[in-house]
């Protein structure tokens, strides 16, 4: 049995806390940042790769650790 990788990530709660979130708005073709709310040391993730369904749709993505 092998030891698991990715063991170096900082401990996080299993609850809704995390690194913050980014709110994206779909304009029918692309996602644009509407609001960026990372915690200290974090930043917005890549834009959503799953297209939206309609103009005006919003999606929140988890922020990631700033490199």
């Amino acid at each position: 049995m092998t030891g698991a990788r990715n063991a170096g990530e900082p401990k996080q709660s299993s609850g809704p806390e995390g690194l913050g979130y980014t709110l994206w708005r779909y304009d029918g073709a692309q996602w644009h940042i509407k609001k960026d709310c990372p915690v200290e040391g974090a930043m917005a993730s890549l834009p959503p790769t799953v297209p939206g369904e309609f103009d005006g749709q919003l999606r929140a993505t988890s922020c990631v650790l700033a490199s």
């Binding site: 092998t2 299993s14 809704p16 995390g18 993730s45 790769t49």
Partner: protein, 405 residues
């Protein structure tokens, strides 16, 4: 604690579901909130018109008429494919539309029935209802809709081909589990998942799980013969979990394995799962615990069983404990210390505490990647608007990787 008989119902239901019983669930035509706008001469309103009024938005905002209540067909289609929304728990489509509506009302300095202040609060609330997903994840997906009946005929060898058995288990046949003590913890949910969970547990080979009901939970009629423990008033997730684990031990103190499953877990519907696990557990003597659920956060590049080196935090969806491990956990000072935290702090974070105890007491914690269990909770019993998305979801679930039989 008062022990009483919970209400048994013929099937899980919600008011919304019961209104859709005669039409296909998930179809735009079945949506009770949708009022099409396009009038077809001589034929009245057409149900597939390109735009419609969303009655749920109107209900939430308390606004009867507003241009922003008009929504495109694409939005309705996406909404109907997602998990069922309600006034208090909108899905991500309704939440998106609500933010837009609220912003327009604020720009217009309010309406007679929705002040600027009310609109601002609604908009902020709707924003919080959007689950924070990974950038490559679709937040409209309802994992509870996925079916795995096509895997009913698989055998343990099929699972083993995808998830190799560790060498330690093969060379330690005397450690193989033969006696189980199994339970399912459950609490009230707006969108119940107990039926799906219990069905899958029984189909996976454990025929008599004990149901541990925290608060007013209806037991589906199909499971009326199962033993249960009903706690009222509800204690909270953390106390229910560890009291339930204790009861599993008290009921069968000599069991080889104690498995406690949360009610938003699903297994592949074949007893191959149980047979497979009896080949894996336990790879060595002494205390050991296994999470059958592997969150996206813990995916490994090599398929198989892995030893978790740090403190586990992502998910107590389905844990199995060896006899020695359950005794160590139930007598751990950390258990009581966590419960004694003030307010709601001592009522949650089961996974964090299990991970902490395992780490502190050197209890090996193993887990499979891909996951043997999927987390389908659309609405959480603990966190107000948390859903099984992102790290609270297994994007590598064995049910999606096995070939049909």
């Amino acid at each position: 604690m008062r022990v009483s008989h919970p209400v048994r119902v013929a099937a899980e239901s919600s008011g919304f579901l019961s209104r859709m019983v005669k039409t296909e669930i998930g179809s735009v035509e079945a949506c009770v909130f949708r009022k099409p706008l396009l009038k077809v001469p001589g034929k009245g309103l057409a149900a597939d018109s390109e735009t419609a009024i969303c009655g749920l938005l109107a209900e939430i905002c308390g606004v009867d008429e507003h241009p922003a209540l008009t929504v495109p067909l694409a939005a309705c289609q996406a909404c109907c494919q997602s998990h069922k929304p309600s006034k208090t728990h909108p899905n991500s489509i309704v939440a998106s539309l609500l933010v837009g509506l609220a912003e327009r009302i604020v720009r217009e300095n309010g309406t007679p029935s929705c002040s600027v202040e009310k609109a601002a609060k609604l908009g902020a609330w709707a924003e919080k209802c959007l689950p924070a997903v990974s950038f490559d994840e679709d937040d409209t997906q309802d994992s509870a809709r996925k079916q795995y009946g096509h895997l009913a005929g698989i055998v343990a060898d099929d699972i083993e081909r995808v998830l190799p058995i560790p060498a330690e288990s093969t060379s330690h046949p005397q450690g193989h589990v033969r006696n189980w003590s199994v339970g399912i913890t459950t609490a009230p949910r707006r969108l119940p998942t107990l039926q799906s969970c219990a069905e899958s547990v029984i189909q996976a080979g454990w025929k008599d799980p004990v149901l541990f009901l925290d608060g007013e939970v209806a037991i589906p009629e199909a499971f009326s013969s199962l033993n249960f423990c009903h706690r009222t008033p509800a204690l909270g997730a953390f106390p229910n979990y560890f009291l339930s684990l204790s009861e599993l031990y008290m009921r069968r103190p000599h069991a080889d394995a104690f498995m406690l499953i949360q009610d938003d877990a699903v297994f592949v519907p074949s007893d191959a799962t149980k047979h497979y696990l009896e080949r894996v557990l336990w790879p060595w003597d002494g205390p050991c615990m296994a999470s059958l659920y592997c969150s996206k956060k813990y995916n490994q590049s090599t398929a198989g069983w892995h030893l978790f080196p740090e403190s586990w935090v992502w998910g107590a969806v389905a844990f199995v404990f060896s006899n020695a491990a359950v005794k160590q956990i139930l007598t751990s000072p950390a258990l009581l210390a966590h419960r004694s935290q003030p307010g709601r702090d001592g009522l949650s974070k089961i996974d964090v505490v299990l991970g902490q105890i395992a780490k502190e007491q050197d209890i090996p914690l193993i887990f499979p990647s891909p996951s043997l269990v999927q987390h389908i909770g659309t609405t959480s019993t603990i966190w107000d608007h948390a859903r099984a998305v992102n790290a609270r979801y297994a994007d590598q679930f064995i049910g999606d990787l096995l070939p049909s039989t």
